[in-house]
């Protein structure tokens, strides 16, 4: 096995993991605290990509795209929370699934009307569109390194928020025992809206960051939201720490699986069979992983018993 390839795939895995963390953090918060299954979280990621891409294409400034798109999408998120989702907190999970699926249908169709049907192709910001040499002669994308960096900064920020602030204390209380926060005498409505806004902002940030790599497309949210759900389930619902660890593990499994599964399988079965089976199995890998985790730990890695 080549070390350069292995290290590069680990970097790819971390980059994907960081992206999953940005998406899953918002999900695990809304789920853990408000008990809301928000399928439409991926929609905010998509809107982040579209709005960020549009601002970037207009102004030519990626920084401006980040600074404007994230609050705009967070605003849209808060608006849906106030108008629609707020009334669903006390309702059955299935009602939430149905309503948020309605939101997905609506927004996916809306972006097809507002933007070109096949979405937008976004260039990389010039100053990040290059590669840097790392050890073992690896040339790695500066842009992807930037995503890893931003994700880690956000992770540290989230850690500080959750452990060092009053808001974080409420979040922890809510995630451990939901009825607790009702007893704490805080303005619950405001707390929920605030948490929802933070989650949406993280999702939108992920969208803006990924737009140059993936482009902006209708339906891009659903492709990743299922994996984000896998992440929060593996991590244990409501746990930001679990979410971070699970996101990195999932990213690494996906990236390394896609790269080395045929080699690993070939140790056990004939090479031909291994090469034929590897692509199918690597598609299933994260689901197999989740099933195994839940088989041994039905509450996920860091889940609390009350959920």
């Amino acid at each position: 096995m080549e070390w350069a390839l292995l290290i590069e795939q680990i970097l790819n895995g971390i980059q994907f993991g960081v992206l999953l963390f940005l998406l899953a953090a918002g999900l695990t918060l809304t789920f853990g605290i408000m008990d809301l299954v928000n399928l439409a979280h991926g929609t905010m990621y998509m809107l982040g990509a579209f709005i960020g891409a549009t601002i970037f294409l207009w102004t030519g400034s990626f920084i401006l795209a980040l600074l404007l798109a994230v609050p705009i999408v967070a605003g849209i998120g808060i608006l849906t929370e106030i108008t629609t989702l707020r009334t669903l907190y006390q309702r059955h999970h299935l009602d939430q699934v149905l309503a948020t699926f309605g939101l997905i249908l609506f927004f996916n169709e809306l972006v097809q009307v507002v933007w070109p049907l096949d979405g937008l192709t976004v260039p990389f910001p010039k100053y990040l569109d290059s590669t840097v040499p790392l050890m073992f002669g690896i040339e790695y994308s500066v842009y992807r390194l930037m995503i890893i960096g931003s994700g880690l900064i956000v992770a540290v920020g989230m850690w500080a928020l959750v452990t060092k602030t009053r808001l974080g204390m409420l979040i922890r209380a809510g995630a451990t025992d939901r009825t607790m926060i009702y007893a704490l005498g805080t303005n619950i409505r405001l707390l929920f809206t605030l948490v929802f806004g933070i989650g949406t902002a993280l999702g939108a940030l992920a969208g803006v960051l990924m737009a140059p790599i993936l482009g902006a497309n209708s339906g891009m949210g659903e492709q990743i939201i299922i994996i984000a759900f896998v992440v929060i389930v593996i991590g244990g619902i409501g746990s930001v720490r679990g979410c971070f660890i699970a996101a990195l593990i999932t990213g690494l499994i996906d990236s390394l699986g896609r790269s080395f599964l045929d080699v690993i399988l070939a140790l056990f079965i004939p090479v031909n069979a291994a090469e034929a089976a590897a692509p199918a199995i690597s598609s299933m890998l994260i689901y197999i992983f989740m099933t195994l985790i839940l088989f041994f730990k039905p509450q996920g890695l860091f889940g609390s018993q009350t959920q």
Binding site: F31, V37, T84, T87, L88, R91, H92, H93, L94, D95, V97, L98, A99, F101, G102, L103, I104, L105, F106, F107, N108, E109, L110, Q112, V113, I226, F229, V230, V233, I237, A277, P279, A280, S283, M284, Y287, I288, M290, T291, L294, F295, P298, Q299, G300, Q307
Partner: protein, 321 residues
């Protein structure tokens, strides 16, 4: 004369209307010279059967399976694979499909039922995704392009043939009625009471000495097997099967039909399937961007009526009272 002030009576009226509509759809379609609606209703009833089976675990058992379309796939693929090897006998196909559905549901059920709540939702989805990717990777059976079924199942009699759309329609109709009756009996049996009681308070049932895991597993398997039947019928309507039938969005649609119709109500799944299909057909006629209407419609249904269409019936009563 039924009084419409009574919820039970309203339910009966709705039930008669829905069943009557299904029973008479082919006649009406021919009279109106709209033969297209015969197959549309046949499809709709197949989804209704699948939804009835899902309602058993989801509505009555509180087990939210997000992977129920797996069993549609098992049924349809069994017919497809047998037809591929020129075994067209309906009864052989059916028995094989039921056994396959039984085995898969038993294994998957015993894995999934270790978990609760959203973990259960996710694990059922994950297992179905695995089979979905498996079906995509098997080239012999067409991978994602799917498998054409050149010959429909042979019923071994000249009186009834699946090739005749009217015969086919009423076979599906009768199966739907049978499933409805079966689930009604099941839910009102001792078994059904245990399942429903376990949904509201499992610990209590366990303390009372009921092996709730086994009851829930049995319910899960029954629902899986019933849905397999829908898959067998689907293959005979479409003459085609592809992995698409097991995609997670299909499982989602099944859930929506159940929730739309009203969970844990007998007619809910059929009403839900009917409204879901006819509305999407209707909206799609208006505009290609019909999701712009359908999305807000779903949200409105949820916001206005917590228990779907069945809930609307109850809602109206309290407004009248």
């Amino acid at each position: 004369m039924l009084s419409l002030d009574n919820l039970q009576n309203r339910r009966k009226v709705l039930g008669v209307l829905v069943i009557g509509l299904c029973a008479l759809a082919p006649v009406a379609a021919n009279l109106l010279d709209e033969p297209y609606y015969i197959n549309l209703f046949a499809r709709l009833m197949i989804w209704a059967i699948a939804a009835i089976s899902l309602n058993l675990i989801l509505g009555y058992g509180g087990m939210i399976s997000f992977g129920h379309s797996l069993y549609l796939g098992i049924g349809a693929y069994t017919v497809g694979i047998f037809a591929y090897y020129d075994i067209n006998n309906f009864y052989i196909q059916l028995v094989a499909a039921l056994m396959a559905g039984f085995c898969v549901a038993l294994v998957f059920g015993s894995i999934c039922l270790r978990t609760r709540g959203v973990y259960f939702i996710m694990i059922t989805m994950a297992l179905t995704q695995m089979i979905y990717f498996l079906s995509i990777s098997i080239e012999e059976f067409g991978s994602d392009d799917g498998l054409i079924i050149y010959v429909r199942s042979e019923l071994g009699t000249d009186l009834i043939s699946f090739d005749n759309p009217i015969h086919r329609y009423y076979v599906i109709f009768l199966v739907m009625i049978a499933c409805l009756y079966f689930s009604h009996r099941l839910i009102h049996s001792r078994f059904g009471y245990v399942i429903r009681a376990a949904k509201s308070n499992e610990t209590r049932m366990e303390v009372l000495g009921y092996p709730t895991f086994r009851y829930r597993l049995a319910c899960f398997v029954i629902a899986g097997v019933m849905c397999t039947v829908a898959g067998v019928l689907s293959a005979n309507v479409e003459k085609f099967v592809s992995p698409d039938i097991m995609h997670w969005t299909r499982s989602g649609e099944l859930i929506f039909m159940v929730v739309l119709g009203g969970m844990a109500s007998m007619m809910g799944p059929i009403t839900g399937a009917l409204v879901f299909w006819l509305l999407s057909e209707f909206f799609a006629r208006i505009t290609e961007h019909w999701h712009l209407i359908f999305g807000p419609f779903l949200i409105l249904v949820v916001l206005l009526s917590p228990r779907g269409i069945d809930g609307l019936l109850a809602l109206k009563r309290s407004a009248n009272d």
